[in-house]
Symmetry: C2
Amino acid sequence: MKFNIALLAGDGIGPEVIDQAVKVSDAVAAKFGHEITWKPALTGAAAIDAVGEPYPDATHDICVASDAVLFGAIGHPRFDNDPTAKVRPEQGLLKMRKALGLFANVRPTFTFPSLLDKSPLKQERIEGTDLVFLRELTGGIYFGEKGRRDGGETAFDNCVYTREEVQRLAKKGFELAMTRSKKLCCVDKANVLETSRLWRETVQAMEKDYPEVEVSYEFVDAVAMRLVQWPNSYDVLITENLFGDILTDEASVISGSMGLMPSASMGTDIALFEPIHGSYPQATGLNIANPMATVLSAAMMFENFGLQEEGKAIRAVVNDALAKGIVTEDLADGGKAYGTKEVGDYLAANI
Amino acid sequence: MKFNIALLAGDGIGPEVIDQAVKVSDAVAAKFGHEITWKPALTGAAAIDAVGEPYPDATHDICVASDAVLFGAIGHPRFDNDPTAKVRPEQGLLKMRKALGLFANVRPTFTFPSLLDKSPLKQERIEGTDLVFLRELTGGIYFGEKGRRDGGETAFDNCVYTREEVQRLAKKGFELAMTRSKKLCCVDKANVLETSRLWRETVQAMEKDYPEVEVSYEFVDAVAMRLVQWPNSYDVLITENLFGDILTDEASVISGSMGLMPSASMGTDIALFEPIHGSYPQATGLNIANPMATVLSAAMMFENFGLQEEGKAIRAVVNDALAKGIVTEDLADGGKAYGTKEVGDYLAANI
Ligand SMILES: CC(C)[C@H](C(=O)O)[C@@H](O)C(=O)O
Ligand SMILES: CC(C)[C@H](C(=O)O)[C@@H](O)C(=O)O
């Protein structure tokens, strides 16, 4: 197969980790007889510097003309602590999600047996954890009307959801649950919020179309607790944008494998793949950042094209490198630490 | 001193644990020469059964005529999984918070050395954890306009905050920080929400009035992570209603002492004290519920009256009972389990 992949490296360590994912993807393509054309484009602080905005039209055009987007990380310290700055990298992120219609953010949290001791949680609590959040990504309070009244003394943010928005996200949740252990948890705050009551009634009405899926409904505060107590009791979870923002980040630290977690954001036409970690500005250019989360994001990309074997090949070589200790300093545990590039080289050479 | 205390026992184990707190409070009053008049009133499912609504006017009248409210727990399984039911115990809770003006929910999370092994987190992560959340409790998306449009196909919830609402909550936060280690964390989502930007700018403007307090600003998703990673890095945290709902529950499970955590909800005129645990319906009437969280809530009540020694006396006898293993089955660890009443008797007798 032939693919065009938009390559949005972004800021900080983004370009370095993206380089490794490109190398590994090219090795997979060579092995399985595919051809990838990479289409680099500007985003984040890098784009603000170059053209004055974080998600330029030119970048958007490249994305829509591609079969998928591979994304590094965005964010730069000079925008920190100033959430009111006129132009910020995060605005580019939100604009991109909306413009590309990336309504479903897929965030797996799973464990690597060799990394269990990195978790803040006791080993027996996390063993076997393998859950996936589907976070709604283009609606809710992120995109509702917001502003000030009373001369700036009153602020408001409106949270809005339509039944259709809930349905298309929930559909992905049911379908994913069917490919896994057929357990789906709908996370809401239906005892307080009208939008949550719409979520719950919409998901309830869809249950009959997926009779094999066992659906549970839990309040967001209860899930925030149980994620820490018994993360391995969850499988697929679906939730709205803001709850998803909070809970996926909470879930990401429990497995001990945070630096290795990939993610996908799916739209109707295109999907984007990125590591969950940030731009880690202090490490920029030092060749110390762990590229594995980005490499595993490329694995999700192949799998999303229906190329399961290609995805498996990447996951296998990552496991192999972890087992052999061919890892960056964050995982070296006093042993030898390899560079970002060296880990990428090993992965690409051993596909 | 003479006090009138409204006594809202509520549902499930509420009445049993409240009985113990009354006994212990009476013992403290006797020892220190105070006189407490208890004013029982209906709330929760019990009130729905008796008079058709969860926070009757008669109960409200008793509360406003009292010096404080001691609250047990509300909630009954027959209202579960039906968040759309016309009358629900939780509505009584929200109505009570608003009617009594309880705008600041104070939720400490601390550790008891003897209970560290109950935590899902590794011991070295939680040792020394002693933080307090101040959650805004009468504003935000809980109380904004909510409803449906488009024949029910679109739902909305409006989140609204005024500068004044933020100021009065933040003031309590700064004041609390001054009595502790002078560290305050403002939790918001100022990179996305206008209400969060109002929170942040309001707190920033107050910093000059408390030059000794070191203030940090963190996004809610980052706090959800760090609470699990390094809970003992926090001291006082202030946040809006919904973030507070999620984060205080998350924080409550990390210490391993969840069953012992008290809370207070403060208004301008009156304050309410309650354990953070729920009504635990399965345990109703079995004399197995742990009364210590409610007893410690009574300690917070005395301290709020300015009676520090009285509060200390209660905390000391709870520590003593824990050390001697005079505990209910949740803490018995295979040893002898005492009944709810027997633990209460021991605490009252040893004040
Ligand atoms: C940077 C921010 C706007 C963004 C969000 O809140 O969605 C981030 O936290 C994320 O989860 O991708
Ligand atoms: C029962 C519910 C309405 C309530 C809330 O969300 O405030 C509860 O979760 C709490 O935290 O006291």
